[in-house]
């Protein structure tokens, strides 16, 4: 292995062997499980009901006996005033509370001072892996309601970075303010939710600025909030001319993984969580590289504690050694079970369509599209796709036939004049009426 190919360790945890890391995780989880049983009614009741005894926890395989919890369970606890803080560890005041929203409801994630300290350090590791080094200003890229906002201050302080706070919130209509911040403070490292990257590029273009000019000086662009395909990564590099585009995947419930220098998958950040990918029906571990439910356990026993939490994500795990030398396994979140659809013989995610499209017709890379609900209902993969500028008919014909061959289903592709930028890289499944009204 070439020395230059190794990741620069953040601290001694990065120097552990994979086996030593598993032992480290075992110790941390043992402590968290014990605390959960002794102090947190939410978990004590569930452990008792499942017959799980934390004192018998010896290896990571023993985690299988720990009952899985999900958002519904947390929402039920939140509805019960008495149990509202029943999964919150440590002194509960003063805290900051962040929100985890979705179609099923809002859950509240409690961050104690201790959580912020530990998670801040762990997230600093993640950002170190991603390429952050001392001395660059950090543009705060998450609104205060979001869990990421609770750790950004710690990251800034760890690296001695000035905190640059953009006014407003992180919606496309505020993109001009982010553009101003980038131009004023010249960050070398930038974190951005994927849809916002396209919004700020569009805003810069309206101001007569190319992506290259806007991102001049940015050495690392971290995108988060959606899984990116290899083509999307290349597309972002092409648009911004940033040398290193890194993916960071995380959730409000303490799941965190980030690309290493080789971008061969996202390494689990070990002092945030341990993660499994399991068969949705049997609960058994999926073989490496095969899709299953991502279930993770936080090793930070402070604030809201998530043990064997199934956040509804679909992912794959890869425990094989990485050339970067980091010991933690790699994980790729591909989407959510809620967004899975079946057409013909295949059950897929929007990510799969994105990946297939960029592989089969690279000219369509970076094109926003929508997967039509009506199409899926009739057994057809029907895409509404923003009309490419050149050779449109040929490209669409090629895409139609190649996708049809690949997925063994009828494929229809309709060119539309426009779609919101937020659909770029994150193709939604919408009714055609919803798609039309979203423009």
């Amino acid at each position: 292995m070439l020395k230059s190919a190794l990741a620069e360790p953040f601290d001694d945890l990065d120097r552990l062997s994979p086996e030593a890391l598993r032992q480290w995780w075992t110790r941390k989880l043992k402590r968290a499980l014990r605390l959960a049983f002794e102090e947190l009614p939410f978990y004590r009741n569930r452990f008792n009901a499942a017959g799980f005894d934390p004192t018998r926890f010896r290896t990571l395989d023993d985690l299988r006996a720990v009952p899985i919890c999900n958002k519904e369970d947390l929402l039920a606890a939140a509805r019960d005033r008495e149990n509202f803080k029943s999964y919150v560890a440590g002194p509960v005041s003063p805290m900051t509370v962040s929100l985890s929203s979705g179609t099923s409801g809002t859950t509240f994630v409690m961050h104690t001072r201790r959580w912020r300290k530990l998670q801040g350090y762990s997230s600093s590791r993640a950002h170190w892996w991603a390429g952050l080094r001392p001395g660059t200003p950090l543009i705060m890229s998450a609104p205060a309601w979001h869990a990421y906002a609770s750790i950004q201050p710690s990251i800034a302080m760890h690296f001695g970075s000035p905190c640059v706070v953009v006014s407003g919130t992180f919606l496309p209509r505020f993109a001009d303010r982010i553009v101003d911040a980038i131009l004023a403070f010249h960050p070398r490292f930038l974190t951005m939710f994927l849809p916002m990257v396209f919004s700020i590029l569009a805003t810069a273009r309206r101001q007569g600025l190319s992506g290259e000019k806007l991102f001049a000086g940015v050495e690392t662009l971290v995108v988060t909030g959606a899984p990116i395909t290899p083509g999307m990564r290349a597309h972002l590099q092409e648009l911004t001319k940033v040398k290193r585009v890194t993916e960071l995947a995380g959730s409000s419930e303490n799941l965190l993984a980030v690309d290493c220098i080789h971008a061969h998958g996202l390494h689990l950040v070990p002092d945030t969580c341990y993660a499994e990918v399991i068969d949705r029906k049997t609960g058994l571990p999926m073989p490496d590289g095969e899709r299953g439910s991502v279930v993770h356990s936080s090793v930070i026993a402070a604030g809201s504690l998530f043990l064997r939490y199934d956040g509804g994500d679909v992912g794959i795990l890869d425990g094989s050694p990485c050339t970067c030398g980091l010991p933690s396994p790699r994980i790729k979140l591909l989407g959510r079970w809620d967004d899975c659809f079946t057409v013909g013989p295949h059950t897929m995610l929007p990510y799969d369509i994105q990946l297939a499209l960029e592989s089969d017709v690279p000219e369509l890379l970076g094109t926003a599209f929508v997967i039509s609900k009506e199409g899926l209902a009739s057994g057809t993969l029907r895409l509404l796709l923003v009309e490419p500028e050149n050779s449109a008919a040929d490209l669409l014909d090629a895409a139609r036939s190649k996708l049809s061959r690949r997925f063994e289903v009828p494929v229809e592709i309709s060119a539309v004049r426009d779609l919101p930028l937020r659909f770029k890289g994150v193709p939604p499944i919408l009714s055609e009426r919803e798609a039309a009204s979203s423009v």
Partner: protein, 290 residues
């Protein structure tokens, strides 16, 4: 606090010093004019040149009330802490108890949110909520999130709410849609405005609609000014961190004593009156009415 003769080191102030070394009061428009002619300086001449190019202050905040070009204010960590103290004392006047929750329906970039907790901004040692042992939660400051604000009230039972003015109506409507009353749930609500403060009449109207005492916040981010309405005299009490002076124009100028990295001297808040003496709640208070 930067002394008047030190202000010559700051380009914005240098231009505003008279022959006898006095600083002419200024307002947002003056700052915008300066920024328009100095587009390379994000702080519009209010941070020393050597700190703009290197040693940028640890905290920089884009002003919400100005548009193009963007103008930024800045503080060093101890100054940020002193600013948070202003917020804590403001809340204390309205009443808080340890272990209660304060909820914001505001942009996370508002100083009212940022200064609440060391969890919201780096280099803040103790935010206002940290000092008062309060739990804090911020809901994104967009009207579409009004229902989520109702969920916050329902679940977390905050005793205090800070709302941005334009979100009060969507919030009130969302509450009414689910038949939720804030009376007996919420002790007080404070309303912020990007610059300035809402009128007493508007506060009274909101108070009647939401069935909770509503207090006004006077805000001028360019001058780091945060002042809360007094429940007794209804004037704005100025924290000890500010100096205030009446101007011949009938306006009031504010100086933030804690701001050194980006000084705020003689900021003209507009037509206002400095009241004589304190009030029943705080006999030594310095008060302003506007």
């Amino acid at each position: 606090m930067a002394r008047p003769h030190d202000l010559a080191e700051y380009r914005f102030y240098r231009e505003r010093l008279t022959a006898d070394g006095q600083l002419r009061p200024w307002g947002i428009t003056d700052l915008e004019d300066f920024a328009a002619g100095n587009s390379g300086d994000p702080f519009a001449g209010r941070v020393r040149d050597d700190r703009v190019s290197s040693q940028v202050p640890k905290f920089a905040l884009q002003l919400e009330g100005t548009a193009d070009p963007s103008i930024w204010i800045a503080l060093d960590p101890p100054e940020l802490d002193r600013w948070a103290g202003v917020l804590a004392r403001m809340w204390t006047r309205w009443g808080t108890s340890p272990a209660e929750t304060i909820a914001f329906f505001e942009y996370g970039s508002s100083p009212l949110v940022l200064l609440a907790s060391s969890g919201y901004v780096g280099y803040l040692r103790r935010g206002a909520a940290d000092r008062l042992s309060l739990t804090s939660i911020c809901n994104d400051g967009v009207a579409a999130m009004a229902n989520r604000m109702v969920a916050i009230v329902e679940t977390l039972r905050p005793s205090m709410l800070i709302l941005r003015r334009d979100l009060t109506m969507p919030f009130a409507m969302a509450l009414e849609a689910v038949g939720m009353s804030l009376a007996e749930r919420v002790r007080w609500i404070a309303i912020s405005e990007v610059e300035g403060a809402i009128s007493r009449a508007e506060a009274a109207h909101l108070s009647a609609r939401l069935a909770v005492p509503v207090w006004r916040i006077l805000r001028a981010d360019a001058a780091f000014l945060l002042a809360g309405e007094c429940p007794a005299c209804r004037a704005f009490h100025l924290d000890r961190e500010y100096l205030a002076e009446s101007l011949a124009s009938g306006h009031v100028a504010i100086t933030a004593r804690f701001a050194n990295a980006c000084p705020a001297h003689r900021f003209d808040i507009g037509a206002a009156t400095l009241l004589k003496g304190g009030c029943a709640i705080d006999p030594r208070a310095r008060r302003v009415e506007c």
